[in-house]
């Protein structure tokens, strides 16, 4: 389920955009770093593996990997916000955007230095190891649903529900929505906007980290540049759903993922063109995205 991965990343874009009106280009790379943190955690911490199989991680191990990756990614997200974005709070929006691009490049090239430029193997999830490695991606004819995909979908749905509860059911969530609605008014009401923005980065980046681990387990490899296209597509998904809207991001992610996979099955080389075609079509027909109409921007 590519869609649920996109949805998880798109959530981070949409949340950050909601509070800061900033396209956080580095978000896709936070997702990449999250995947690597998960990999190293699994490698060096001896997380629960299926006995006798070195390259297989159990479901409990996967959850632990995700947890560590989420914490690591959240820390990275906060660090980026603190160092690169906070000083630019009052600068023109384009400046912050270019800074975001700079941070993104820094993470990509830095990632290539730290992690090496080649693809690295990711562990298999227990019970999903194909009998002959190589026909991993469900090569059998007809419709097949991989166990990994089911697990990814379940985890993604759970995370989105958790997020929805956080945002709509807790005090920080309420504060988050207030900041997104009007930052100055929110700070006049006694909300510490800096804290709330940092919190937004924590939650968004944690989700990206989780998505990184999930995609690693699904594709069985990670690489330092994996955040580039995934980031763009997830961002497109956020826009399609209506940027700033959490259910919109989830929906947009699913739509982008499904349409990409469906086209890829028949015309592999056209997949990217279709993704962006969908984007332009939706933007022309519904300029604020599918669920974005309630957030009228201009006063």
């Amino acid at each position: 389920m590519l869609g649920s991965i996109y949805a998880l990343i798109a959530l981070g874009y949409t949340m950050v955009y909601g509070v800061l009106r900033l396209i956080n280009f580095a978000h896709g790379d936070v997702y990449m770093v999250g995947a690597f943190i998960g990999l190293y955690a699994w490698r060096y911490l001896g997380l629960p593996s299926e006995e006798g199989q070195a390259q297989v991680v159990s479901t409990a191990g996967l959850l632990l990997m995700m947890l560590i990756a989420m914490v690591g990614a959240a820390a990275l997200g906060v660090l980026i916000e603190r160092v690169a974005y906070r000083p630019l709070r009052r600068a023109p929006r384009l400046t912050a955007l270019i800074t975001a691009i700079g941070v993104s490049m820094l993470l990509e090239y830095g990632g290539q230095l730290v992690f090496g430029t080649t693809k690295q193997d990711y562990p298999w999830l227990a019970g999903t190891v194909p009998s002959s490695i190589g026909s991993a991606a469900g090569g059998s004819s007809g419709i097949s649903i991989d166990r990994v995909d089911v697990i990814i979908l379940v985890i993604a749905v759970l995370l989105v529900v958790v997020l929805q509860i956080i945002v709509h059911g807790t005090r920080p969530g309420k504060a988050m929505r207030a900041v997104a609605f009007d930052r100055e008014a929110a700070s006049l009401m006694g909300i510490n906007t800096d804290t709330i923005i940092a919190l937004t980065f924590i939650v968004g980046s944690a989700f990206a980290g989780a998505a990184g681990v999930l995609v690693g387990v699904r594709n069985h490899y990670v690489e330092p540049l994996m955040g580039l296209t995934a980031g763009i597509k997830a961002f497109v998904a956020a826009v399609v759903g209506g940027i700033g809207s959490i259910p919109g991001a989830a929906l947009g992610g699913l739509i982008m993922g499904l349409s990409e996979e469906a086209v890829r099955a028949f015309y592999p080389e056209l997949a990217d063109a279709v993704v962006f075609g969908v984007l332009i079509l939706i933007l022309v027909l519904r300029p604020c995205g599918l669920i974005g109409s309630q957030t009228a921007e201009k006063v």
Binding site: L88, T95, V284
Partner: protein
């Protein structure tokens, strides 16, 4: 930007530029034989970067619309020009010969035609993209242009007639110093004169406040499309020059990252500042080359420098200012010269 004292009339400009152009025409050919090809290539690349950055500045800086699909227009221009110099070559050659054009002039004329076609094709595509997407605002426009840029690349990659994913090869080496120089001068004159004209003022008004601009009777949509057209046309020129310098088109190198690179130049130089764009474009083209000694760390340095520069100068190097008249005249002449100094 404000006050006309910084703007020379076009006639004066042309009179001023003619001897400079002639001198550089001569110098350019001498330069090519003098310099190590590597440096010469970077000089040409910075010239092309200037064309791309200044033209993007017309949309992003003058009009305040945010486009991140500039590489898509460059790609259109690249393919269109290659179509003329490669596929239509027998035809154009026979036409030119029947018009008794001397052989020496055959290639330059064809290349001029190719560049014109590139500009035309890119501006037509710009119109097609601009008409629907310029009704969007702010970030949604940005995403639509991003989608266009990536989409057009994906389309070119699937068309086997133009080489598919491996791109086009064996494009004749026609880009010379003179062509790049003419392009640079052309785009700067376009931008400067636009800025001083009624149209330019309308664009600035849109940038400052679109609603207010509309309220005082500016047809904002028409002006936005106009800015988009001009910008796309020059991007097409840049694409044509790049294709005939690289002697091929690799669709991968016209990706989103290329567009971003150009946006970075514009923002770093200062939105709306032509001189800023020029300096940032030249600087950012040279920076990775200067950083070559630090080998694998060079892109890390590059991006770290970018972040630092934005943090220290949030409004770009020049803000919205241009360099003053005296510096400006000096600079117009020294942009290629500065390269030469660094290059030699």
């Amino acid at each position: 930007m404000k006050g006309n004292r910084r703007h020379l009339p076009t006639v004066a400009w042309l009179a001023l530029m003619a001897p400079v152009a002639l001198a550089l025409w001569a110098a350019g050919s001498g330069l090519e034989s003098l310099l190590v090809p590597y440096y010469f290539r970077i000089i040409l690349l910075s010239g092309i970067a200037v064309i791309a950055a200044v033209s993007l500045n017309i949309v992003n800086g003058f009009t305040g619309q945010f486009s991140i699909g500039h590489a898509g227009f460059m790609l259109v221009g690249a393919y269109a020009s290659a179509g003329i110099t490669m596929f239509a070559r027998p035809f154009t050659e026979s036409v030119l010969r029947s018009a008794h054009v001397p052989d020496v002039m055959l290639m330059p004329l064809q290349f001029a035609a190719a560049i014109a076609v590139a500009a035309l094709a890119a501006s037509i595509v710009g119109l097609l993209v601009g008409l629907p997407s310029l009704r969007l605002r702010g970030d949604y426009l940005a995403i639509a242009t991003l989608g266009f840029g990536e989409g057009i690349r994906a389309i070119f990659v699937t068309v086997d007639a133009v080489g598919g994913a491996s791109g086009l090869h064996n494009i004749p080496p026609l880009t010379s110093f003179v062509w790049v120089f003419l392009g640079v001068v052309g785009v700067i004159i376009t931008a400067r004169n636009l800025a001083a004209s009624t149209h330019g003022r309308a664009l600035f008004a849109i940038r400052e406040d679109e609603l207010a601009a509309q309220a005082v009777g500016i047809d904002t949509f028409r002006y936005k499309v106009l800015a988009f057209l001009i910008s796309a046309a020059w991007a097409g020129v840049a694409g044509a020059l790049l294709a005939h310098l690289d002697l091929g088109i690799d669709p991968r190198s016209y990706s989103f990252m290329k567009s971003v690179e150009i946006v970075v130049m514009v923002v770093l130089g200062g939105l709306g500042s032509v001189t800023g764009s020029v300096i940032a474009a030249v600087g950012l083209t040279w920076l990775p080359e200067i950083l070559r000694p630090v080998a694998e760390y060079r892109m890390v340095f590059y991006s770290a420098l970018l972040v630092l520069l934005m943090l220290l100068r949030p409004r770009g190097l020049f803000g919205r200012k241009e360099l003053g008249l005296a510096d400006l005249l000096g600079k117009k002449k020294t942009v290629p010269n500065a390269n030469r100094k660094e290059g030699g």
